[in-house]
Each structure stands twice: as structure tokens, then as C-alpha cells.
């Protein structure tokens, strides 16, 4: 696999050191990395989860609205940030692979390099959780 753009490499290195659950997506919205804190939240490490396109990861973990229905990909902060090239913020619920549900406040930031948008960083702030 070819080397990622330096901006994504540096973002990954940065997220690795954070205790805030955080995800890195490429310009198409595929998850290409998440940190250990996100792994704790989802109950699966990134090494086990692997890189996944948006359609796959959204099906695996949600997100869900307050009514329990899946939120369309187009309405997620990640999608909005990548499409508009500006930060986006939202609230939703996710479900870990153990079945735990977490209410999440999320901010997505596009990563814009000299050559254009390379991807984005998404931060999760759990606001409440409940066991399966």
C-alpha cells in the first residue's frame, strides 16, 4: 500500500497519544484508524476492526438517533465536515460490539493540506452510557 499523505500520518500519530476517543477517516469517509480510547468505547481494537468504508462502519456501530433509528450517513458530522470542508458537530448514540450503548457528542474536523482535503478527524465525547 502506498504511503499516506504526511498530514494523515501526523494526525494518526497525534490521535494515538490521546485519551479522547478519536477516529481518522480518508477523504472518502472510510475509517483508516482509531485510537485505543475509541477501541475501548467500541469494545474492539482497530487492529481487529480494520479499515472500513463508511457504509460498513456505520452499519456496525450505528450511529443511532434518540429514537433508536440509524442516522443516515449524509447527516453525520463526519460526512458534513468532509463535504463542506468545515467543522461539524452532532449528538447521537452508538452501540459497541458488546452491545453497550453510549450517547456521544461528536466533532469532526476536516484535514486540509496544500493539495486539498485529505480526510478528517472525528472526536467522540461520551455523555452517557448504558449496559446491554
Amino acid at each position: 500500500m502506498d504511503q499516506r499523505p504526511l498530514e494523515l500520518i501526523l494526525a494518526r500519530n497525534f490521535l494515538t497519544g490521546l485519551s479522547t476517543p478519536a477516529f481518522l477517516v480518508d477523504e472518502g469517509g472510510s475509517i483508516i484508524f482509531y485510537n485505543e480510547a475509541a477501541g475501548d468505547l467500541l469494545a474492539i481494537s482497530f487492529e481487529e476492526f480494520g479499515q472500513k468504508p463508511a457504509e460498513e462502519w456505520s452499519g456496525a456501530i450505528g450511529p443511532f438517533g434518540a429514537d433508536g433509528k440509524p442516522i443516515p450517513i449524509e447527516e453525520l458530522p463526519t460526512t458534513q465536515a468532509l463535504r463542506a470542508g468545515r467543522p461539524a458537530h452532532g449528538n447521537f448514540r452508538i452501540r459497541s460490539l458488546k452491545g453497550d450503548e453510549h450517547d456521544i457528542e461528536s466533532t469532526a474536523l476536516p484535514i486540509v493540506a496544500e493539495g486539498g482535503q485529505e480526510g478528517g478527524m472525528i472526536f467522540f465525547w461520551p455523555t452517557a452510557g448504558r449496559g446491554a
Binding site: 500500500m1 502506498d2 504511503q3 499516506r4 504526511l6 500520518i9 501526523l10 494518526r12 500519530n13 497525534f14 494515538t16 497519544g17 496544500e114 493539495g115
Partner: protein, 295 residues
């Protein structure tokens, strides 16, 4: 391709009798391509010595800057061809959203830091951002990519017309936040530049013991340099950008340690070289494997 080191020191010139063998001048490497053209990598204080006999030889000079820290541009003001009207000099460097390359270098070649301004130089000088895609100079294909350091910084991959490839990453901290021995290759800064290079000239400023006090300063410790070289399958490696505190005796011992670690990583004897001023190397691509009989 012929390689000659004119400055191997990092950060700041470090002259003195205890530095004589490896030299105290900062980064500058001369490449003579197989077609006879010359490229200069960085313009640290080492470029002064290079420039003394240079202008008469070549009227057109290409200087590839990795970045604009002073140890990579300080020699420009003392590069003799800059003061000869028959010289034509092109300086390539990293772009920045903040200001043009000419304006950023002009901050150094201007008052009060310099007695002359860029516009007063008698030579014909131009400043060009490195292209985002591969381009050609003197018959060689050049590729510049950003690498992990402080501020906009490039590494270069230079492929000569005979296929010989040299990679120059003078200032680089690929191990920052990234365990190089286990991380996927797509996440290693500089990987594509260095992959299977015939010679990799790479930052090796710190010992592993010194590094904890310098994390994030933009330079490599020995183990990261060697791991990076092994991961990228470099055929030969030149340890470069010596710390100004490292004396000749220290660097001798450092090279012994490096060779031991290199062998432990599966490297072959003789693949490592410690950069030293005026060191000359001839680099060539491996000969193609003979075709199988009957093919």
C-alpha cells in the same frame, strides 16, 4: 552517481580540533549525475567550500533545499557563484501558505542579518517551489515530499538516468508517535521516498539515550534511523546531520554501535557510512539479474 559531502553537521556549525575528521559545516551534499550534471542538496555552511571552485565549472546551478532552517541555508550568502554575474542559480524549496520561497529566504539575505539583499546579487537567481509531482533536472527524475520535521520540510528522491536512486532526508523524525518496527508502511513518513534507495542519506542526530530529552525536535535517534532504513530496504545508508556536541571520537563509537545494531536488524556489514566532510562515494543501481538460460 557521485556523491560528495560538504557539510554533515546539524543545527549549527561546530568547528574545532575535536571535530576535524567529520567536520563542523552544516548540511550540503553535491551530486554529480551520470550525464555530468550537478545537483546541490541544501545550502548549509558546507556550500561555501563547494562554491570556491564551482562557478567556473558550471554556469547553471540547481540547489534543492529541504527546508529553511538556518543550518540549511546559512551558506547561501557565502556561495561564490552568487556573486558572479555569469552564474544562473535556481533554488528549489518547500512551499508555504505564509509567503513565497523568495520572500522567506529574503528574510535571511537582508538587513540586519545580511549586508546584501537578494536583489543586489549579481547572479541570475530564481526561487521555485518544488512541484507536487515528479520533475526532471539534469537528466534525473526528482521527487520531493513532505516529511516529519518542524515546519514545512521536504525529503528528496533522485533517480538518475541509469536508474541509480538516492534519497536525501536530512531532517526527519519518523518515529514520533509511531513505533516504526511494527506500524504499517503506509503510515511511515518518508517511506515512498526511501523505498529501495541505492543510497539513503538520513538524519541520525541523537543516540537512543539522548533522544528522550529531544522528542518532537524533528530529528531521529539511532534506532529509528536504522529501523527506517531496514523497513524501506535501503541498500546503503549514510548517517547524517550530526549533533554539534558529537566529537570525532564520539562519532567513531557511535558508528560502531550503529553497525552492531544494524547487523542485529539483519543488515549486512559495510552498508552503513557515517557522513563526513569531503567524503566521496560512487553509487550505482544493482546490475539487473541475468536472464535465465534459454529465456
Amino acid at each position: 552517481m557521485k556523491v560528495k559531502v560538504w557539510g554533515a553537521r546539524g543545527s549549527v556549525p561546530a568547528p574545532g580540533p575535536e571535530m576535524n575528521r567529520y567536520g563542523g559545516n552544516t548540511s550540503c551534499v553535491e551530486l554529480e549525475l551520470c550525464g555530468g550534471s550537478t545537483l546541490i542538496l541544501d545550502a548549509g555552511t558546507g556550500i561555501r567550500g563547494l562554491g570556491v571552485g564551482f562557478a567556473a565549472k558550471l554556469p547553471t546551478i540547481n540547489i534543492l533545499l529541504t527546508h529553511l532552517h538556518l543550518d540549511h541555508i546559512q551558506g547561501l550568502m557565502f556561495f561564490a557563484p552568487c556573486f558572479r554575474s555569469e552564474s544562473s542559480i535556481t533554488i528549489w524549496g518547500p512551499s508555504s501558505p505564509e509567503a513565497s520561497l523568495a520572500a522567506r529566504i529574503g528574510r535571511y539575505i537582508s538587513a540586519p542579518l545580511s549586508p546584501v539583499e537578494v536583489r543586489e546579487l549579481p547572479c541570475d537567481v530564481s526561487f521555485l517551489d518544488t512541484p507536487a509531482t515528479e520533475w526532471e533536472l539534469g537528466g534525473a527524475r526528482i521527487r520531493a515530499e513532505s516529511v516529519t520535521h518542524r515546519g514545512p520540510t521536504l525529503g528528496y528522491r533522485i533517480t538518475d538516468s541509469d536508474g541509480t536512486t538516492l534519497t536525501y532526508i536530512s531532517d526527519h523524525e519518523p518515529g514520533l508517535g509511531a513505533p516504526l518496527e511494527e506500524i504499517g508502511q503506509e503510515w511511515i513518513s518518508g517511506y515512498d521516498l526511501a523505498r529501495s534507495a541505492d543510497l539513503l542519506i538520513h538524519d541520525c542526530q541523537y543516540t537512543d539515550e539522548e533522544y528522550p530529552d529531544h522528542v518532537g525536535w524533528g530529528h531521529s535517534r539511532l534506532s529509528d534511523t536504522l529501523t527506517f532504513a531496514r523497513r524501506t530496504d535501503a541498500r546503503r545508508v549514510m548517517l547524517f546531520h550530526h549533533d554539534p556536541l558529537h566529537t570525532d571520537d564520539f562519532l567513531d563509537t557511535f558508528l560502531d554501535t550503529a553497525n552492531g545494531r544494524w547487523r542485529a536488524l539483519g543488515g549486512e556489514p559495510g552498508q552503513l557510512t557515517m557522513a563526513s566532510e569531503r567524503l566521496e562515494l560512487e553509487v550505482s543501481a544493482p546490475a539487473p539479474a541475468p536472464a535465465p538460460a534459454g529465456a
